[in-house]
């Protein structure tokens, strides 16, 4: 296999581990070069299947490049370059190593041609991303990281079980369309659903992302969930249930985002809501819809990373991203504020920005298939996006009530990283054909029509009008320090009590069991001692004569038996 060394995932994983041995100046340059090298490797590969290996009886395909895996792999590389630039000043080499192994794992998973290879890279991303959360070293990060890790390992187990069952029923491990007609199909769907933060399986996201480090959260926002989107698009395109799940996903996180105080958690809810649009696209499953999902994933990775980077810069300079503590920061961080606004307008899908040209494809695909209710939910969710990501995040951090906090502008490397992401948002918005060329199917969609631009502006500006009226009349919910309960309450409170109760029950059971076992052993011991001990009846010395008598008796008995039978 000649391409093994050219596999972008291996370049990134090995490079990520190697950088820990380098002096700091060299390491920084090396880390910026790595994504470029890996991307060049990716671009040099012709579409097809590579690295066919025989493992026991299984035929593995380490690398499969086609239109769908290409666009995801490409944006993963671009994002890694941006994140590496953002992390230029990061000194924690373990964190940097986790980040590169994580990105490499996600790219390996996207390029995997079979379910076992997918599983291996799936687990690589789970472990490395948990390390990335733990790298923040706070108590909150360590606990959230533990919950995150358990949930993602569980996802991997579902994938493994489903894959084995899939192999037994179909005789193939190839990762193609799976569907939900079989038990294995459901098991694998659950694995993807966990990683994709489906409703009620979603809380690991909002729980852990805001706990990670400044750099870590940006990296996390890129890979795990979009890997799941890719996997769903590959295995479950056109599965109708996903349309409804996706629609719920776009709508419910909005309400939590509106009242959440930690702006990085607001962005996590918003991420969840954006995934919903992509899941709807996968459920629709037409070429237009899958194009929309791929385009939206591409655009979303950039503006979401941009938003997380701007909040990371705030966290880096001010030490908090709690809306109740912020405000007026545009005076200190005008560039960061500007980039944040570009990200916010992109996610809200303002014309001339990336979200406008990608989200519209999904909405059109939904309307083409006649799902009017779903379409209305998506439109409703779009108004919600404008609130929590479009307005709330930039408004309460950089404007609103001046907190009086003054700090330095974000470091140059962070500004450059944000600048690149912001430029890409604009370039895609102004020149959508650049993105459309990368999509898995031929694009037959014109985003810039009078009708589309005007209706979208109506939706957005009238939503903004609603905000202005609510805010100026003091109806807008105030930013207050609080914890809002979500589904994770069930496993963090009653679940934890239950487990603790079960634990003590097991502990009492264990002591009970052990003590009765001891009693039995003691009883057996004393009996043995009685018969076999120094005074025991069976350990006495017997005269030879009685021994001979017993032998004779046995032989006699044997003789009698022999004659009878």
């Amino acid at each position: 296999m000649t391409s093994a060394l050219l596999h972008p995932a291996f370049i990134l994983i090995l490079g990520g581990l190697l950088q820990t041995t380098l002096p700091s100046q060299l390491r920084r340059i090396f880390l910026l070069t790595l994504p470029v090298l890996a991307a060049l490797a990716l671009l040099s590969i012709e579409p097809g299947q590579y690295g066919n290996v025989q493992l026991f009886n299984y035929e593995l395909t380490l690398l499969r490049l086609d239109n769908l895996s290409f666009i995801f792999a490409l944006i993963f590389h671009i994002a890694l370059f941006i994140v590496a630039l953002y992390a230029w000043q990061e000194k924690d080499t373990l964190q940097l190593a986790s980040m590169f192994v994580y990105a490499g794992g996600a790219i390996g998973a996207v390029l995997a041609g079979d379910l076992l290879t997918l599983f291996i890279f799936w687990e690589v991303t789970a472990i490395s991303s948990a390390l990335l959360i733990w790298a923040n070293k706070t108590t909150g990060a360590i606990r959230a990281g533990q919950r995150y890790f358990i949930i993602h390992v569980a996802s991997g187990l579902f994938l493994l079980a489903g894959s084995i069952l899939h192999y037994q029923t179909t005789g193939s491990l190839a990762f193609e369309h799976i569907g939900i007609d079989t038990v294995s199909g459901w098991l694998i769907l659950i694995a993807f659903a966990i990683k994709c933060a489906f409703p009620l399986l979603h809380n690991w996201l909002q729980d852990s992302y805001p706990e990670a480090s400044v750099v870590g959260t940006v990296a996390l926002s890129v890979y795990t969930t979009k890997l799941a989107i890719y996997a769903l698009a590959r295995g479950y395109a056109g599965t109708e249930i996903l349309i409804w799940i996706g629609a719920i996903m776009t709508a419910f996180p909005i309400f939590f985002a509106v009242i959440e105080n930690d702006l990085r958690r607001v962005l996590s809810y918003s991420l969840n809501n954006q995934l919903g649009f992509m899941v709807v696209g996968i459920g629709i499953g037409t070429e237009m819809a899958l194009n929309g999902t791929s385009a939206h994933a591409f655009a979303h990775i950039l503006y979401k990373a941009l938003l997380f980077m701007s909040m990371g810069a705030v966290l880096h300079r001010v030490g908090t991203t709690k809306a109740s503590e912020l405000g007026g920061l545009y005076k200190s961080m005008p560039w960061t504020a500007g980039f944040c606004i570009i990200g916010a307008m992109s996610i809200s899908a303002f014309p001339l920005l990336s979200g406008f040209v990608s989200k519209a494809m999904i909405l059109t695909a939904v309307a083409d298939e006649g799902y009017w209710l779903i379409w209305l939910v998506l439109l409703f969710a779009s108004a919600g996006v404008l609130d929590h990501s479009g307005i709330k995040v930039p408004f309460f951090s950089f404007f609103a009530h001046d907190s009086g906090k003054r700090c330095a502008e974000a470091p140059l490397n962070m500004l450059l990283a944000m600048g690149i992401a912001a430029s890409l948002c604009i370039v895609i918005g102004v020149h959508p054909t650049l993105l459309y060329k990368l999509l898995p199917y031929e694009v037959n969609f014109v985003p810039y029509t009078n009708s589309h631009v005007i209706t979208q502006l109506q939706l957005l500006l009238f939503s903004a009008l609603a905000f202005a009226m609510l805010y100026r009349n003091n109806f807008y919910p105030a930013e207050i320090r609080a914890t809002n309960l979500d589904f994770d309450w069930f496993y963090r409170k009653p679940g934890a009590y239950l487990m603790r109760g079960l634990g003590s029950l097991i502990a009492t059971g264990e002591t009970g069991l052990l003590s009765s076992l001891k009693k039995i052993l003691f009883l057996v011991g004393t009996r043995l001692h009685r018969h076999h001990g120094p005074q025991g009846i069976l350990s006495r010395t017997w005269p030879t004569g009685s021994m001979v008598m017993w032998v004779a008796f046995l032989l006699g008995a044997y003789l009698i038996f022999y004659y009878i039978y």
Binding site: I254, F255, F256, V258, I259, Y330, K331, S332, T364, A367, D368, G370, W372, W375, L379, F380, A383, G384, L386, D387, F399, D402, G404, R406, T449, N450, S451, I454, T455, Q456, L457, Q458, L459, L460, L461, F462, S463, A464, L465, A466, F467, A468, L470, R472, F475, Y476, P477, R481, A482, T483, N484, L485, D486, R492
Partner: protein, 83 residues
């Protein structure tokens, strides 16, 4: 640092904020007037209703914010609830 703190910014003045809000009002009014002058092509009949996107956005926004406020009554806990 202190001199920076005392610096007056354009947005510090209430009248300038009002200017922005009035600009928003004007833009919204303009977007409704445009309704008469272009051909709206959509998939569903209700899209053709006058200013459908405008009032849908407005109502959706208000209902989201108000129901989130209501939701807060049920799910809000102290900040250190889980610690």
């Amino acid at each position: 640092m202190n001199s920076n703190n005392n610096k007056k910014y354009w947005l510090d003045q209430a009248k300038n904020i009002n200017k922005i809000v009035y600009l928003l009002y004007a833009a919204c009014a303009g977007l409704l007037i445009v309704e008469f002058f272009y051909h709206k092509h959509g998939h569903f009949d209700f899209e053709q209703w006058f200013g459908f996107y405008a009032w849908f956005g407005f109502i959706a926004y208000i209902s989201i914010v108000m129901s989130a406020k209501l939701l807060r009554k049920f799910i809000k806990r102290k900040e250190n609830y889980y610690d």
